[in-house]
Amino acid sequence: MTLTERIIARAAGRSTVAPGDEVWATVDLAVMHDSSGPRRIAPILDRLGGRFWDPERVVLAIDHFTPPATLTHAEIVGFTRAWARERALRHFFDGEGVMHNLLLEEGLARPGMLIVGADSHTCTAGAVGAVAVGVGATELATILVTGEVWLRVPPTVLVRFDGAMPAYLTARDLAMAVLQSLGADFAIYRAVEYVGEAVEGLGVDERAVLTNQAVEMGAKNGIIAPRFEGEDRVVAVDAAIDLSPSVPEECEAVHVFQVADLSPLVAVPPAVDQVRPAAALEGITLDRAYIGSCAGGKAEDLRLAARVLRGRRVRIPLVVTPATQQVVRSCLADGTLQTLIDAGAVLQAPGCGACAGLHSGLLGPGERCVATVTRNTPGRMGHRTAEIYLASPLTVAASAVTGRLTDPREVL
């Protein structure tokens, strides 16, 4: 069995499963946020008797509508907070960062787990070798009561990156290379598993970019076999489960990329798979630059940006939304924040920030922004005529310095 199949088999209480099988599985963790959580699920939960199957396995984070920009946001946040208090929810995070990143930081997401979440980027938790899948709010409400989810076992597509990572590339460039050559739908109903030398060398922050972007490829889940050395927070949920990488013979397809052949990339609007080399877009001038989101606001993202910005000044406004408060703490301690601020970056409160187009720096008509966020669908960060160019933190920082889309090698 593939890594994803082994984890689903355990959760379904079966010795084996095969792609296409429909199974009921017991989840290890059920997660939600202020947009998809209590305000949507409370009435359904009440209808189903209102009792959690296991309150210890429920996580709620206020990350989307915080800090509240309107009274409506404040009402949503207030309702969510009151609901969490009433239920004495232990794993409750109130404005401390984006749920997906908190799960990894806090060690709540663990290798071998089956995780369901009411958010499409739930797949991010695959970075530590979990099968993490997004579901809708109604379905999550039923899972909170029964602890069970129905799954169709996905075939696995193996994506292999050969060669070591050069200093000018990041995991985001790898993910965009996949989208460029295989498109935004090659992995529908499939598991995407990343392997290869370049992936093995990555820490959890960078791995999380690859698994996060799996949903943009259409995948059910993205996963990487866990690395335990040097990662004290990465502890398997069950010592008996085999968490080694899948072998090609068990996978539906294997796609191989030579890292040395890749260059810094940019996904141009209106789609995540409209990918071009940054160097080919240098004529495109920009109004704003943005570093943030569950894909691009982690400590490693801020450090990558600082590498470019050290001793330089930005020419266009650069807004930085750290994914979590822990990112703020660690980047404060190692001087990263000082570097960013000295370069002219503006820091915001942790959370989803402007990524979902709800607050904290929306784009106006026709504005052009280079950003580390997850998607560039028209209207995603504000006005539907605004243009979102997705890029790595290195490319975003380099572009903020020049005021136009820039290959970071030009600046580094």
């Binding site: 429909e22 009921w24 947009s35 998809s36 949507r40 359904i44 209808r47 189903l48 008797g49 509508f65 309107t70 409506t72 946001h73 949503i76 009411a118 958010d119 499409s120 997004g134 579901v135 809708g136 709010a137 109604t138 379905e139 409400a141 039923t142 009561v145 029964t146 129905w150 169709r152 935004a184 739908d185 529908i188 109903y189 259409g218 059910k220 789609a271 979902a356 187009g357 709800l358 998607r375 669908t377 028209p378 209207g379 995603r380 539907r384």
Partner: protein, 167 residues
């Protein structure tokens, strides 16, 4: 619910949930969702679609964000089924879980807006009534069909919980 007849509204490939239900309406109450159905692509759709009509699309319908409002909006607007070559998987689950048939038809290219269609879930086929063309449906078996027949995951779960209490 096994046989449904409706008029087709045809859309293209990669219709996203941002287009089915734009993010700026997310803070509005779900009861109003129907007004904004597919407004990211066609501002007038919600005003013109008739109860019982079908949405027909190409590949990857409902890609992107997990917002359930996308499914709720289509249902409230009157859409009785969505036929596509493939679906964004969370949209697919949300549809089944809300009792909206999300039907995979490998080739939807022969269907035009305005065509009358008959969807037979039992026989797992779609008939284009004007031409008589019969298209196979390749999904909706097992658990997903059971949830759909129950009217969605909430009534389905209610029945399961009741069964457990009896056991």
């Amino acid at each position: 619910m096994d046989v449904l007849e409706g008029t087709a509204w045809v859309f293209g490939d990669h219709v996203t949930t941002d287009q089915i239900y734009p993010g700026r309406y997310l803070e509005r109450p779900l009861e109003e969702a129907g007004r904004y159905a597919l407004s990211g692509l066609d501002e007038d759709f919600a005003g013109r679609v008739r109860r019982g009509d079908f949405v027909v699309a190409g590949v990857n319908f409902g890609a992107g964000s997990s917002r359930e409002a996308a499914v709720v909006a289509l249902k409230q607007a009157g859409v009785a089924a969505v036929l596509a070559r493939s679906f964004g998987r969370i949209f697919f689950r949300n549809a089944i879980n809300n009792g909206l048939p999300a039907v995979i038809v490998p080739d939807t290219s022969g269907i035009r807006t305005g065509d009358r269609l008959r969807l037979d879930l039992g026989a797992r086929q779609v008939t284009v009534l004007d031409t008589g063309a019969v298209l196979p449906v390749i999904n909706l078996t097992g658990i997903s069909m059971a949830i759909l027949r129950a009217g969605g995951i909430v009534p389905f779960t209610e029945a399961r919980l009741a069964e457990r209490r009896r056991a």
